[in-house]
Symmetry: C2
Subunit: 187 residues, 2 copies
């Protein structure tokens, strides 16, 4: 997805303000398997996905638990780094060869203080992330694993082709064995 569309979808900007943001953005490519964010590190950039798919995971005891997927158009952010300048608890792994837009956090923070339109764009950016986070929270708390699986399929049908079931299972809050059972019962 093109950077213009990504920026515009978040919040409409004046041409001047939009150019200020775009001047701070660079493009970069990474291969499948690349670890973009490392846990226990302060991340200094946020990214937007032009092409590809990624996941964020953290460890519980010895096993990875995926708690976020991102696809074309989605932002990749370590929120603890972005908001509090603190170490994040997650790795972000690219699940396909990816084309990304990179934006330095420090540069963006500066723009927030200088340009009111960009400040409101940044406000809206986080507001939209918050809505997503709340939706996911509600889904985890209100729905059964089977319902969550069906909802994920409906919202994002191609994820089955693009992501291993083990990652999807942990995203749904269950084991891979349990997801296999659920899939067997649905058919």
């Amino acid at each position: 997805m093109d950077i213009n569309q990504i920026i515009d979808t978040i919040y409409p900007l004046t041409t001047a303000s939009k150019n200020l943001i775009k001047k701070s953005i660079t493009e970069c490519n990474f291969p499948k398997g690349h670890i973009l964010f490392k846990a226990n590190k302060i991340e200094t950039s946020i990214y937007f996905i032009k092409k590809g798919i990624a996941r964020a995971y953290a460890y519980s005891d010895d096993n990875q638990i995926t708690f976020w997927f991102g696809k074309e158009g989605d932002p990749i952010v370590s929120m603890q780094s972005y908001v509090n300048n603190q170490k994040g608890y997650e790795d972000v792994e690219l699940l396909e060869d990816c084309e990304l837009y990179e934006l330095k956090t420090e540069r963006l923070q500066k723009l927030f203080l200088e340009d009111i339109h960009i400040a409101n764009w940044g406000r809206k950016f986080v507001e939209l992330e918050l809505i997503k986070s709340e939706e996911r929270l509600i889904s985890l708390q209100f729905n059964t694993a089977t319902e969550r699986y069906l909802a994920l399929l409906k919202k994002y049908p191609s994820i089955i082709q693009r992501v291993q079931l083990a990652h999807i299972a942990s995203y749904l809050g269950i084991t891979q064995v349990s997801l296999s059972r659920i899939r067997a019962n649905i058919k």
Copy 2:
């Protein structure tokens, strides 16, 4: 908690900007049991809790599921209304007699467009809510019911005295019976 402290804790403002916000805030009191937000309604205000405690819940089939608690200093926001001007899915019930600060959303939106400091205050406000939402998401996805219960107790010890176990159980994503069992096993 005093409104000055609440505003300052979110993001430092110039005196002028802070006064602009404060001029838009009114105080109001409601008795225990008052329903502050109604589901399927566009809420036109956000609140901050000066004194008291509240919960947000939605229905799953016929039973209420609590997914948020707010106490002194916390904001009360229907995010769907605040962000998208759309109907929310939650009721908010006051669990004690409450003293609240009220801020009209429309008024705040106007300030966001006029004052860059307030725009950044509003950005920070949502960022902090997002961090909380992510923490809760991780807790639901990574930890067992027992671990979530112990974490809640640790983070907010007095909740046991102030809130019924039925509400706490649904907040933890389990039934009240299950929470009773967990409590029995811990001692």
